[in-house]
């Protein structure tokens, strides 16, 4: 017994050591390539904050990689200006507490001029308060909750659509195109899920559909048979789920197991290959609204996608291109402020105002003009359907503001 335990301890320690080395290795290489490019010591850091572990890590990783790709593309420009760029990825774990703690760390590092993130609205909202304190501009490629920009913070921007636009757009599609009359709504009690579900519910009612049920579930649970039993008795012809893909996938699967055949629709958080992994073949026929468009069909999109695939060895997720555009906007703004500051390191306030002043920016995924709240006037909502069990689904509708 004793030697067994010793072995286990040793193995654990070795694994910890390896993990430590792994992290150390990557950070030194980014550091080296960052400083290797230029001879001057002036470093501009951009942080990304997204869940790199946990239930939304696929999307969080996509945000980091998209931002990283744009940063690498702009490295040379900045070298000419005498600056070296550096990406500092943070893992917010999809957890508001962790996001805020990271934000404090980011704020304390004077070299950080901007943040790309977060994925989850519930994390973006409290963290943005910290950024406001330090005047660090943030651009979220994914947060859709209305409250995020409604507080009129100077630092909070997003390139995607708002929930009070996404929810109604989804409801519109459900009622007018699918012809849903009896709709059952499930939400996961988070800022995102509940906000989206309520926006959907209110619009669907306005359009004349009946809401036959409105129930909540708990994030992290695996058994949703109770809620689905209620749904089964109401016999709805449409089910809407406001929540994340881990629960969404299980709900789709368990609903089909119960013999519920009504189409199931969700919001942009279902826009992930993870959904297909969890739901398996049952995902066929499921719908999701997304604030992310289909990259392959956009101008320059396929070439961009191929470059992404080559650089990181995996296909871009829905948010990858939005993170790429967010980073490009951020770097454009920094470049402008550097130039107007005669090549000196700009202040965070100047960068913040330059980001907000972005007009008619043409990115890979979207055009961007920030209004006075930080919302993007060009943001669109896209409706997708899974035609088979492969990600992504097929684009079936597109709604602009």
């Amino acid at each position: 017994m004793k030697w067994k335990w010793n072995g286990l301890v040793a193995a654990t320690l070795i694994m910890g050591l390896l993990a430590g080395c792994g992290n150390g290795g990557t950070s030194t290489t980014t550091g080296a390539s960052g400083s290797g490019g230029s001879s001057s010591g002036k470093v501009i850091k951009i942080a990304t904050q997204s869940p790199l572990s946990g239930g939304s890590s696929i999307q969080g990783e996509a945000i980091r990689l998209g931002a990283q790709m744009s940063l690498e593309d702009h490295k040379e420009e900045f070298t000419k200006l005498g600056y070296s760029l550096e990406l500092v990825p943070y893992d917010d774990q999809g957890d508001p507490k962790k996001g805020v703690a990271n934000a404090e760390q980011i704020g304390a590092d004077q070299a950080v001029l901007g943040v790309i993130g977060h994925l989850n609205s519930g994390v973006s909202i409290p963290s943005s308060v910290v950024y406001e304190k330090y005047n660090i501009p943030m651009i979220s490629p994914a947060s859709t909750a209305t409250e995020f920009t409604d507080r009129k913070l100077k630092v909070a921007n997003r390139v995607v659509a708002r929930d009070d636009f996404q929810g109604p757009a989804a409801a519109n599609y459900a009622v007018k195109t699918v012809g849903a009359k009896k709709i059952f709504v499930i939400q996961d009690k988070t800022a995102y899920g509940q906000g989206l579900a309520e926006a959907f519910r209110d619009e669907a009612q306005k359009l004349g559909a009946t809401i036959v049920g409105y129930e909540g579930i708990t994030v992290g649970e695996k058994d949703f048979n109770g809620v689905l039993n209620i749904a089964a008795t109401q016999n709805p012809d449409f089910i809407f789920f406001g929540g994340l893909y881990a629960e969404g996938g299980l709900i789709i699967k368990q609903a089909r197991d119960k013999g519920i055949t009504a189409p199931i629709m969700g919001g942009d958080a279902l826009d992930s290959s993870g959904l297909v992994e969890v739901a398996g073949p049952d995902v066929k026929g499921a719908l999701y609204s997304s604030v992310a468009g289909e990259i392959a069909k956009m101008e320059g999109g396929p070439e961009w996608g191929a470059r992404y695939q080559k650089a990181f060895g995996k296909a871009p997720e829905g948010y990858s291109a939005y993170a790429y555009d967010s980073m490009t906007i951020m770097l454009d703004a920094i470049k402008k402020t550097v130039e107007s500051n005669k090549g000196e390191m700009p202040t965070r306030e100047a960068v913040r105002d330059a980001v907000r002043a972005t007009k008619d920016f043409k990115g890979i995924a979207t055009e961007v003009t920030f209004d006075d709240k930080g919302d993007n006037s060009f943001a669109k909502v896209y409706i997708y359907e899974f035609k088979g069990d492969t990600y992504p689904g097929e684009l079936v509708s597109e709604v602009s503001q």
Partner: protein, 328 residues
């Protein structure tokens, strides 16, 4: 209102019994260890979780070797259960040896803290290994039994609705019943079972009667943990996704089941598990209906635990606490 409740009842009962069977078998692990050592082994939920991961890993291994195609699914299922039980059983024995035996003479609170420590280590160890292999610690489990069938209750009475049952649910019932009956016979009819009951009643006297107390305690941990691990496999097959944190909340509910049945009592734990499972499923299906939409399905745990509190107020020793004298 009652018509609707009655309509869904068959389906709610089947889902509730499946969940309850899982709670019941996990609850056995808590109750056995408590019976012997008067220690609440809070790492037991994590042993359940480890079982789910070990089972899934073995399944992936089988698929990698192309064995699942050749074998009938139930044989691979039983093999996977067996491997998971052996691994988690050994894990339970290891935990006892490392985290509890050195503290056996210390106050009970100390070993409780040590139990929490073990749970954190297990959670993060499993998370680390899963992330290393798949890059994501939420693992999707391939299903051995894809089928489902419909039970026509409506032909018995028009007031009842039909129920859809997954083939895997039937397997859960079979495995749970085999394990529980097997354990009951083992504890009540065999020499080792007798030794276990003796140690539970009085450890010192039992050791004077030439019972090897340490061996009995190790055996208890082995059996309890193996039961927990096997349930992990059933759970992974039933719900299709596992993560390193499933053990916490499920362990808590199984522990509640053990308390409800009277902790230390094996038959009580089985009964308590089924009761908690059915109550939880019933609440999540009908709470909204019963309260006119004021409290939805999200309050199901509140409902289940409120029942527990009521029971404990009137019967603090649990439902079966005094009915049977001996612990274990």
């Amino acid at each position: 209102m009652f018509a609707t409740i009655l309509q869904t009842l068959p389906q709610v009962l089947i889902d509730g019994l499946a969940l309850g069977a899982i709670y019941a078998v996990v609850a056995l692990g808590y109750t056995m260890v408590y019976g012997i050592l008067e220690l609440i082994n809070f790492a037991h939920g994590e042993i359940f979780m480890t079982g789910a991961f070990v089972g899934t890993a073995v399944l992936f291994l089988f698929q990698g070797m192309g064995l699942t195609g050749g074998l009938p699914p139930w044989i691979s299922y039983v093999l996977i259960l067996f491997v998971a039980m052996m691994v988690t059983g050994a894990l339970g024995v290891g935990i006892e040896r490392v985290a509890y035996r050195p503290l056996r003479k210390a106050p009970k609170l100390i070993s409780l803290i040590s139990a929490f420590g073990v749970s954190f280590v297990l959670q993060d160890l499993v998370r680390f290994i899963a992330e290393l292999k798949t890059g994501n610690y939420i693992v999707s489990v391939p299903q051995l039994f894809e089928g489902r069938f419909s039970l026509s209750f409506s032909s018995m009475s028009a007031a009842l609705g039909n129920a859809t049952v997954k083939t895997n649910t039937v397997f859960i019932f079979i495995v749970a019943i085999v394990l529980m009956v097997g354990l009951d016979i083992f504890v009540n009819r065999t020499k080792w079972g007798g030794a276990m009951r003796a140690v539970a009643q009085d450890r010192e006297t039992a050791s004077l009667m030439s019972i090897n107390v340490n061996k009995v305690i190790l055996l208890t941990f082995f059996i309890g943990s193996a039961l927990g691990g096997s349930t992990g496999v059933l759970f992974a097959q039933q719900y299709g996704t596992i993560d390193p944190y499933i053990g916490f909340i499920l362990g808590l509910k199984a522990f509640t089941a053990a308390v409800l049945g009277g902790i230390g009592n094996i038959r009580g734990a089985m009964f308590g598990g089924v009761v908690i499972g059915v109550l939880e499923m019933f609440a999540s299906a009908n709470l909204g209906l019963m309260t006119g939409g004021n409290f939805g399905a999200e309050y199901k745990d509140v409902f289940a635990f409120a029942i527990l509190i009521v029971v404990l107020i009137f019967k603090p020793e649990g439902l079966f606490g005094k009915a049977v004298k001996e612990k274990v």
